[in-house]
Symmetry: C2
Subunit: 91 residues, 2 copies
């Protein structure tokens, strides 16, 4: 069963206190070259049936309407992975 | 400045009530071909300096230790995107 991966991030102009906290933790750990952490969401949705461009467009619409808050978040990616061997290397 | 994208998902055997709730919402919207929604996290970390394999390995270690809870979550992907034009199409 194909899986569609949707990635949602806070808009660049929106403060991300969660990411800021993680960034500060990295600084305390001495990882001073890692800066500006931002944290968003990653959705995996299993699809019954084949995934074509129309289905991807439908899921992108759902991503904007349901998965994300358009006021503060952007849908940065909608990709399909072919099977359940989730490696994150989306096509 | 290069950005490293880390993706963390709940382990397959872990219930994901948040994802279940979104899946139920999709069913109510009549999207019955979209099943089994799971929700994880997506981190963007800006890196001062070049990203080589050693840096990626270091960030993967941080991802396991700091970004995720190894009891309930897996780090599914650590990739680098070259610039700040975040399209999600990680290399």
């Amino acid at each position: 069963m194909p899986t569609i991966v949707v990635e949602v991030m806070p808009k660049a102009e929106i403060l991300d206190p969660q990411g800021k906290a993680v960034g500060n933790a990295l600084a305390r750990l001495g990882k001073n070259d890692l800066t500006n952490v931002r944290i968003g969401k990653r959705f995996e949705v299993s699809v019954d049936g084949p995934v074509d461009d129309a289905k991807l467009a439908e899921v992108r619409e759902i991503a904007v309407d349901v998965f994300s808050n358009a006021v503060i978040e952007d849908v940065v990616s909608v990709t399909v992975v072919d099977d359940d061997t989730e490696t994150g290397s989306a096509a």
